[in-house]
């Protein structure tokens, strides 16, 4: 009984033989920053005019500006129009199931400290089916950047009420207008313990980029709510936040203390269009760091021992 019928074997790397490599890989030192063309993959399937286009364009900008290599980032998403994001980015990426992108991304983040994980998705994905994951990923402060492209509607499934749809929004599941009180994503994030909470809108590209940069530089769970208009099913939803449509784009007041949770909550309580910018930021140790610390306490203790020797110590106690 004690033999292993399927023994360990080294895996072939890839379907395509490496020996007849068609492409030469430039040396690390010869690499130049990526151009927009190099980071763009499939042409987005979004409706013309969809707010998600700007979010994608600014993600490309971020990669260009910060000289991130393809292989150093991973783009993860759940399901929804916005969640199709990973297909449009020329980098390692995963299009996972509805609402569960955060735990998937956590698996990457916690096992691969060398990568930066970006998660993109919609309001339904984040706050309805994925609501519980949102709270727990935030409270655990797992390092990643999560950008929710909030359009106040279910886009992919064609206009049902979303958890952020305002009261009275007429959808296919609320023909009389939405009756359920909406979620306030900023309050939700602050209350859950997210360590970086920011709000932006697709109509202000510079601001989106600023928020993305700050989020990426944050060591912890960084959350951005990016208003992103669904021109198909909720046209004009955010007009009052767009100066070009006669609305007001107000930055978070200069004297706002981002480490003050209650002040952040007050900002989140402003009526639409509210403020844009970083509402809250704190420097709690990440789960990644805490797990690493636990591991370090052992690596000191077991220094020089091979894995099998560590296991043998357990087995010796079981005799």
């Amino acid at each position: 009984m004690s033999d292993i019928a399927i023994p360990f074997a080294p895996l072939p790397r890839t379907g395509i033989g490496l020996s007849d490599a068609l492409v030469t890989i430039p040396l690390e030192s010869d690499r130049k920053g990526l151009t927009k063309k190099e980071v763009a993959a499939d042409h987005p399937t979004w409706c013309p005019g969809c707010g998600d286009f700007s979010v994608l364009a600014l993600y490309f900008k971020l990669i260009e500006k910060r000289k991130i290599w393809h292989e150093k980032i991973t783009t993860v998403a759940g399901i929804g129009c916005s969640s199709r994001f990973p297909y449009f980015v020329q980098a390692h990426g995963a299009h996972y199931i509805h609402g569960r992108a955060l735990p998937f991304a956590s698996g990457i983040s916690l096992s691969r400290p060398d990568l930066h994980v970006f998660v993109f998705g919609g309001d339904g994905d984040a706050f309805s089916i994925g609501g519980n994951h949102f709270s727990h990923t935030a409270r655990k402060n797992i390092k990643m950047t999560y950008c929710v492209m909030d359009n106040w509607v279910y886009g992919l499934t064609k206009k049902q009420t979303s958890p952020t749809s305002p009261l009275g929004f007429k959808s296919k599941t609320d023909q009389w207008g939405a009756v359920d009180y909406p979620i306030n994503p900023m309050k939700q994030a602050i209350a859950a313990g997210a360590t970086f909470v920011a709000r932006t809108t697709h109509t202000n590209p510079n601001h989106v980029l600023q928020m993305m940069e700050a989020a990426m530089d944050h060591d912890g769970f960084s959350f951005i709510e990016c208003l992103s208009e669904c021109v198909e099913f909720y046209e004009g939803a955010f007009d009052s936040s767009n100066p070009r449509k006669g609305g007001a784009f107000n930055l978070v007041p200069a004297d706002h203390d981002v480490t003050d949770e209650f002040a952040a909550y007050k900002l989140a309580d402003q009526p639409f269009p509210g403020s844009f910018g970083i509402f809250y930021q704190s420097t709690k140790p990440t789960k990644n760091a805490k797990e690493a610390e636990i591991n370090k306490s052992y690596s000191d203790k077991f220094k020089g021992l091979k894995d099998w020797e560590i296991l043998k110590k357990n087995f010796d106690k079981l005799k």
Binding site: I97, I310, L311, L318
Partner: protein, 604 residues
């Protein structure tokens, strides 16, 4: 007690010593009495004495206590099950006595706590009753604190006396177990033990002595099935896992949480089972096969994500420690009713691998195989174990860890170009490169649950869906050829073939031994590989008049257990019939034989 006739009288002892092959001892009390500890000591002692041992226990599913038993079978020869009937019953309470007396062999010994149990005259005729004031003697021994905590160790002393157990080894085990804490704890334990050991039975009982077990070349290790499985995962090189607590899976996640950091890994307790499997898949995608697991309802929650792993062809190990279902069901009872969900659960055609360990030792090696299959075939693999294997303790030969432990760390060397779902490769198996790997062509793969093209980009092409569906299916057909040839236990021709899987293997083999000893042509096979099934079973079936599938689940609407139904569908063989039960208890050898004989006498 299968005692052989030889009676010896050691010098200096007036009482008779009877040599025995094996003994089945059942200890019945409440869960807070530390009954499991007695069983644990006996099992460890057997392991150190090169004897074979198997245990069986029940624990109430409520934490506040309740009736609990521990049965241990120790033998100098092969031990395949925890034993149908006990040779000796130790009972702490009236309810334990009344509930378990029938599990005793006629003529067996009841050792009861005379402080709590009043023997019934009608039973006194059939069983040897020996009363000992276990509670009060324990209290007396530890200095009259009025608490009888320690009566388990006192009883262990009694057993040591009756079975002439190795006192230095037992003392050492007690010291190891209670050492490190407050020294008075060890002292009290030893006091209890010695008090039990020096109790005089005044010729009420003779002393039994186990035959020496055959010398084994290697040390034995003693553990339960959950421990073996978890250590197997570590040996296989798994360094990341995620889970949510549920009985009886929790032990595995607790162990991995505790142990993985020693190897630079981690195990994460998530908010629910969906997050757990998602996190494990994320880590697997990150380059190194990860593990998740659950029992009962938690398995149901994982099915959507499991389908994603089938679709995206991500290697992953999922442990299902089966318990009684459906719903919350019978949390601490054994059942083998998750075969269907594990093989078929989820929407769409989502092939995955299902393998079932048959014993504690097998759980260790099965875990390693699961990891290797997951890697080699880039597929989710479910280890379908059960509550009986999870909780029972066995002694087995210490694995050669230096040889067995594997390094499965990911390879990040750049590749020129990469197509994960390449349809042109011969074996049809997907190869992923982990994020972090440079691709010279600048074209990076995406993994997805949408039907996709060779690069992982979504497609609505009917042709690609046909090709990719076939690809995902065919690689498992290929895997079936990798499995070792199935061997029958007993001759490969005869009247009855008993087919079993999982924890039923031991009792089935014992049933075969018993039947063959009286001239019946019964053999058995154990199916470790459930999905895909190994090739060549039809040939084996051909050699028998009846094929009975013995499993712990319901006969269902159409009269066949879950594996039986799969086998009938696969082989269109009417002689395949089912022997099932749902009482939440492991098979007794006698039950299997009685049922098989009856079924064989009925027309198909």
């Amino acid at each position: 007690m299968s005692d052989s006739a030889s009676t010896a009288t050691p010098a200096g002892s007036a009482s008779k010593v009877l040599k025995i092959e094996e003994a089945v001892i059942r200890i019945a009390g409440n869960s807070q009495d530390g009954i499991q500890a007695i069983g644990g000591f006996l099992a460890r002692l057997a392991g150190r004495s090169e004897q074979e041992v198997m245990t069986f226990m029940t624990i109430p599913s409520t934490i506040s206590g309740g009736p609990s038993i521990f049965q241990v079978r120790i033998g100098s020869g092969e031990v395949l099950s925890a034993g149908d009937e006990a040779d000796m019953l130790i009972c702490f309470y009236q309810h334990s006595y009344e509930e378990h007396i029938t599990s005793l062999k006629l003529g067996g010994i009841v050792l009861y706590d005379a402080d709590h149990v009043t023997p019934k005259p009608e039973w006194e005729e059939n069983y040897r009753h020996v009363g000992v004031n276990i509670s009060s003697l324990t209290v007396e021994a530890v200095g009259g604190t009025g608490r009888d905590k320690g009566k388990n160790i006192f009883s262990l002393g009694l057993l040591a006396k009756i079975f002439d157990l190795n006192i230095p080894k037992l003392t050492k085990l007690i010291e190891e177990r209670f050492g490190g804490k407050d020294p008075t704890v060890v002292q009290n334990a030893l006091t209890c033990f010695n008090a039990g050991y020096s109790h005089s039975f005044e010729n009420l009982l003779k002393t039994y002595q186990f035959y020496d077990a055959e010398k084994k070349d290697k040390h034995q290790v003693v553990m339960n099935g959950n421990e073996a499985l978890a250590y197997g995962l570590i040996a296989a090189g798994v360094r990341f896992g995620a889970g949510y607590p549920i009985t009886p899976w929790s032990d595995i996640m607790e162990l991995l949480r505790r142990e993985l950091p020693k190897y630079g890994g981690s195990f994460i307790q998530t908010e629910d089972e969906i997050a757990a499997i998602s996190m494990a898949i994320g880590a697997s995608y990150g380059g190194r096969v990860a593990v998740t697991g659950s029992s009962g309802p938690g398995i149901s929650l994982k099915t959507e994500a499991l389908g994603w792993a089938s679709m995206a062809e991500i290697p992953l190990v999922i442990v299902d420690v089966q318990r009684g279902g459906p719903s919350t069901g019978m949390p601490t009872s054994v059942e083998q009713s998750d075969l269907n969900i594990c093989c078929f659960g989820g929407h769409g055609d989502s092939p995955r691998v299902v393998i079932a360990p048959a014993s504690v030792e097998d759980a260790f090696y099965t875990a390693i195989e699961a990891v290797n299959i997951a890697r080699k075939y880039s597929t989710p693999v479910i280890i379908l174990t059960d509550q009986a294997i999870a909780t029972r303790i066995e002694a087995f030969e210490e694995p050669d860890l230096e040889k067995i432990c594997q390094d499965i760390s990911p390879d990040f060397t750049p590749v020129a170009e990469h197509k994960p779902y390449d349809l042109s490769v011969g074996d049809g198996v997907t190869r992923h490169i982990a994020p972090g790997t440079r691709v010279g062509s600048g074209k990076y793969p995406v993994v997805t649950g949408l039907e996709h093209d060779e690069m992982g980009h979504p497609t609505g092409s009917p042709k690609l869906h046909v090709q990719m569906t076939a690809k995902r299916r065919n690689k498992l057909r290929k895997l079936a050829w990798d499995f070792p040839k199935v061997k029958t236990y007993g001759p490969n021709e005869g009247q009855i073939l008993l087919v079993g899987w999982g924890s039923s293997e031991g009792p089935i083999r014992e049933a075969v031994d018993r039947a063959r000893a009286v001239g019946e042509a019964i053999s058995s096979v154990n199916l470790k590989y459930i999905n895909p099934l190994p090739n060549g079973l039809e040939e084996i079936f051909r050699g028998f008049r009846h094929v009975f599938v013995v499993e712990l689940n319901d006969e269902g609407l159409y009269g066949y257990g879950q594996l039986a139904a799969v086998l009938r569908a696969r082989y269109c063989e009417p002689k395949i019939r089912g022997i099932t039960k749902t009482d939440g208890l492991t098979w007794k050898v006698k039950e299997i034989l009685d049922r098989a004989r009856t079924l064989a006498s009925q027309q198909v």
